[in-house]
Symmetry: D2
Subunit: 384 residues, 4 copies
């Protein structure tokens, strides 16, 4: 589609870039947190209007999150966006439905479809059980996608839910990320994970983003100003969309932490967004939702008492650091894995030019190596 489309796409690590200090999980994906499943419905159609949109579903505990709710927290870096159900997540510190991601204009429709899906799975909703409020996050893909088409449909939502699986996660212009644009490049869905040892345990933090924010000039890859360097290459590509865009970040962990702690984790994801280049623009919905699969909370128990096994706050720092790292890498994976997108009225969101990125990153890495060598020689001569 775009000038870069013939390159085979690679994830960021395959370009030789390693974000941060913690190791990744086996898939370097949110699904490295046991029980988390991800499914996409990707909608690309050109008959009867240009559709470049989709749905992504994240199931926090397989099919079982309604009866065994997961502790959750959230943070709004900039709130020009929507995650329906957020008020209840914040109040109860729990998530009890799957998390759906889609385009802004379809939050209502996707929420409605998810409601029906949940009613089928748990017919007691609205009867012996309370009603539910689905969690549906959005970014705006209206620059590439014709929002008047009314997609996605209920079937698309079900597809994303039904096909959700563990294992590797498709990234780039897929699912809800199909029409999304990050720092003027195509790519919406990205994921990454980190493993954090703690005593005899190893905890996993996984992040999945629906990324749709930023200007090319601001894009940083592990601190290197890749966006401002490659920008001249794309000056001929015509006008950019007017909005700054948004990002929804979903953080999962198996570390035994509770809602107040998950709010704190969610805040750190915002720092990861900032490191890629966001200054959290006025029109940007930068919203983070975090959950833990440890300590599932039953809807009721006879005693209404629960024994929770909890990591103390003073031990959270490595998880914070892991969250910053995985968020940064998840966003960059979204860019790396998209082949570019052409959409509504022929508008183009180019693919991130991987060869150039690899070259730039390699130059910076060389500078780093020389810098370290320089330090070592200084050190040697100093006898320090």
């Amino acid at each position: 589609v775009s000038r870069s489309s013939t390159e085979p796409r690679k994830r960021l690590r395959e370009l030789g870039v390693r974000i941060g200090v913690h190791a990744t999980g086996p898939h370097n994906a949110i699904t490295d947190v046991a029980g988390v499943r991800v499914g996409h419905a990707t909608i690309v159609r050109d008959e009867g209007g240009t559709a470049r949109t989709g749905v992504t579903a994240i199931l926090p505990r397989g099919g079982n999150v309604f009866l065994e709710r997961v502790p959750a927290g959230a943070f709004v870096l900039n709130g020009a966006g929507e995650v329906s159900g957020l008020t209840q997540i914040v109040e109860w510190g729990l998530i009890e439905t799957p998390i759906l991601l889609t385009n802004t204009m379809s939050v209502g429709r996707v929420s409605d479809a998810t409601m029906r899906y949940m009613l089928e799975q748990f017919p007691g909703i609205g009867a012996e059980h309370d009603v539910i409020i689905p969690v549906v996050g959005e970014c705006d893909d209206s620059w590439l996608h014709d929002v008047s088409l009314g997609s996605p449909t209920e079937e698309d939502v079900r597809r994303a839910l039904d096909e959700a699986s563990d294992g590797p996660v498709k990234e780039g212009s897929v699912g809800a990320g199909t029409g999304m644009i990050t720092c003027d490049f195509a790519g919406g869905i990205g994921t990454s994970s980190r493993r954090v040892p703690r005593g005899s345990s190893v905890y996993t933090v996984g992040v999945l983003v629906l990324s749709n924010f930023g200007h090319m000039a601001d894009l940083r890859v592990d601190g290197s100003p890749v966006g401002s360097i490659v920008k001249p290459l794309f000056d001929g590509e015509g006008r950019r969309r007017r909005s700054y865009g948004s990002i929804i970040v979903v953080v999962a962990t198996d570390a035994p932490i509770l809602s107040a702690q998950l709010v704190r984790v969610a805040k750190r994801a915002a720092l990861g967004v900032g490191r890629v280049g966001s200054y959290a623009a006025h029109g940007s919905g930068e919203i983070v939702v975090a959950f833990s699969t440890a300590n599932p909370i039953p809807r009721e128990t006879p005693s209404m008492l629960a024994d929770l096994h909890v990591l103390l706050d003073a031990a959270l720092d490595p998880l914070y650091q892991a969250t910053v790292e995985a968020t940064e890498e998840a966003i960059l994976n979204a860019l790396c894995m998209s082949e570019g997108q052409i959409g509504l009225e022929g508008r183009r969101a180019p693919a991130l030019p991987l060869d150039e990125v690899a070259r730039i990153v390699s130059l910076y890495r060389d500078a780093g190596v020389r810098a370290v060598d320089g330090e070592l020689s200084t050190r040697g001569s100093d006898g320090a």
Copy 2:
């Protein structure tokens, strides 16, 4: 419908109860704030399932809130509920769509219908204008209403929007309040207003509630424990719904105040909810949205500067007091004006027994008169 249904319904003031110290506006309704319109679609059907639900639409500035946004704020007393678009209201301190109220399971559908309605009115949405996030609040009417019916529909939403008008507002079991229950009595929609003089101006505060919370024993009318007194009359009426319910409060004012001030106003509405008897139960979504029709904010201006005429915070106290009063009275009006409701599986939500309430209130008023007389005699004999 209920035992009280043959009584003609009266608003609280007609029973001789005057909440607080400030005067009401001409309609004692949110529509006393110039420009505010309210419309209802009431859905009561028994064929093909029991429908007891509806939609209520509040237009903050006639049809024009998209181009001339209103400053707004919100407060969540307890967040086990949903007002879609709340995150953006909080971030931007603005409302740019009508406010819709409906049942919990229909938030998605009503949001979707409102989106389509707005697209028709302002075709530039998603093109030269940003996309929008409709403001849709909910309470749960699933005890009286069969949520599997999928009502309300898009047509119902349009009806509520199209028929919205200024002037008196229908109250009780109408619109979104059709299947709602307050302190075990039928009645969801109520409204009230206050006029607050300030220098040479008079500001109006108007409140509309979608009320659906509480237990009968907790119901207070101007401080009198009416609920616990009348409760024995209803002990035969069978089981009560299991949930505590919720309340959405919408506060409008023409006082020239900005978003941070409207957040503060919204908090005071919560105190009014508390005075009626709420302790903000775990399962209750008690959410307040407040807006001011003064200082409309254009989407853009050439200079991006605005001259705002603003009341200083130190002058807000009478507006706070007015907000507490109007919220309390709006909830009680919802109860007073409902004729009761019989719904799903023959479940009954009785009407508030107005004769009894009038009698009780009169006894308490007499006690007050005697108390004052006693004070006066004390005072006389004291020479104080």
Copy 3:
């Protein structure tokens, strides 16, 4: 001191008023929560300036809160006030110092004195342990107290801390409440408690207030408009202070609940403040701090994991109700127990006139009895 000073003071219950439905603990005081201690330093001096002020100390877990921190939460109804250390309470969900209460101008001095006290008790602070931030709340007693006197002193702070004990708590114009005024009556410190059965356990909620808010006309006693009734008796008493005042509410419980739950409990205390008559004025600092003595959190453990025994949120409603009730009663106890106060420049804060209150309350109670009787006869004739 005031016209009412010859009456022996009684707590609210001794006047025959019972707030709410839950039973009180043995002392009807915050000290009914095992481990909580309260101490006062009351400063009333007329030489070298008029001192009407003091310090109140609340020790959440005897002397041990530094090493075994208590889970905590807070809520700001209106923030024109200060609780130093609040930011850390909110972030960590913990309290690790005693809670001190004093006058506004002395927060710095009392914080400094508390710091020194803690350094003596735990010399490792600032060395092997982190530094601490004392929790010091305030209200403004500058209408009765000459703030230029620089009282209380470090010795006063130590006295309050050293004399803190369990058992009955002195109320009225004592400790930090010495110069405080509630609804134009003297009285700052009040307390109350509730016992809430849950399964085989009984949990206690205790509240202590430093109350200094409101206008006489707004004062309600269990819903009855006592303030507006007695107001004419006090119209000759000269000008009232200009500010609306503030209230600090401290909620303690032995229920096993964590920080996010304690935030929710703290919000309910605000509803209790509202029931007494507050509309949370612009200039009012209405701040609630809540803590639980269950699940103390050690500074460190080898594993950094803790096993917490926690009550589920869905079981919190009785605790919420108990918090509203105990807060309302604690404020009224502060009024009932003060003998009135004459302070700076001969300004008078009268005592609440207990005989009149008893008479008024009795008239309202009679009205209630008649109302119930009326209902019973209605019911009888109805055959309902």
Copy 4:
């Protein structure tokens, strides 16, 4: 003092590093915002104990902030710290006292001294005027400073206030920053500014930090991993302090923005902190206070109405970007300008080694130049 102490210190720009895209003001300091004054009292003593501490005073509008309050907002990235008066800043959206910075254990003492100073300046405080709550922020310097010394004193506070001036601001180990450590290097006080053109106006954003956070390995200079590169040079320097530390950020602007907008600006400062390397550790107090010198708010006016000239939110993006940039640069200036510090028990906080930093930065800059050249050649050969 440290190994680098013989180098003359330079600010970051003098090393050839330019953070971001916006121009700086004439002093590249918070004092570039007209009316803002900064003063330091630096306390370095070795007799009778090791004192390495101080006070920094920021006067938002010369001496006049009490009568003409400045609109203000705040954001807490991580709240393990204290800014006394923060609750009122958040509630009223105003600052009405100078802003003082000092060490954690001295917040009470400095607040008390500031109270006295204000009483002298405005004797009506606590009489015709309300009482005040001074704004005092802190970081913990107890690794280098002996907190048992009880410094700073009231005289130190007055010195900082009295000597506050416009023009260049001393940076590094001065004032409150004397004993502070950033990423294991000495240096606490830094400042920077940006000028943002908007229509026919140019707005200034100025930032001053009291920086005391982070680990050396995390330090980034304009994205380059300087900390991890120079870390081996300092491995012999003995143990590091145990805590992660904190940062207080003060943002000033002359852009006409109000409290809700200043909250948004404050959030962006957090992103700047993140870019230097913070992950907002559990024990870190990362607190931002922002104010605008435009639209001063009088304590009272006859009408209680104000005409405010306000920049619309949709125009804030350049200010957000400027805030991120200036915060990042202010922190780095704190490091660049400190000569290192030796304190309590001979503990050493080395100076940032400027020669090495310049060398590293130059290597990275060269990499950037080569990368751009590479792009240009790609572009040339591509004909793009």
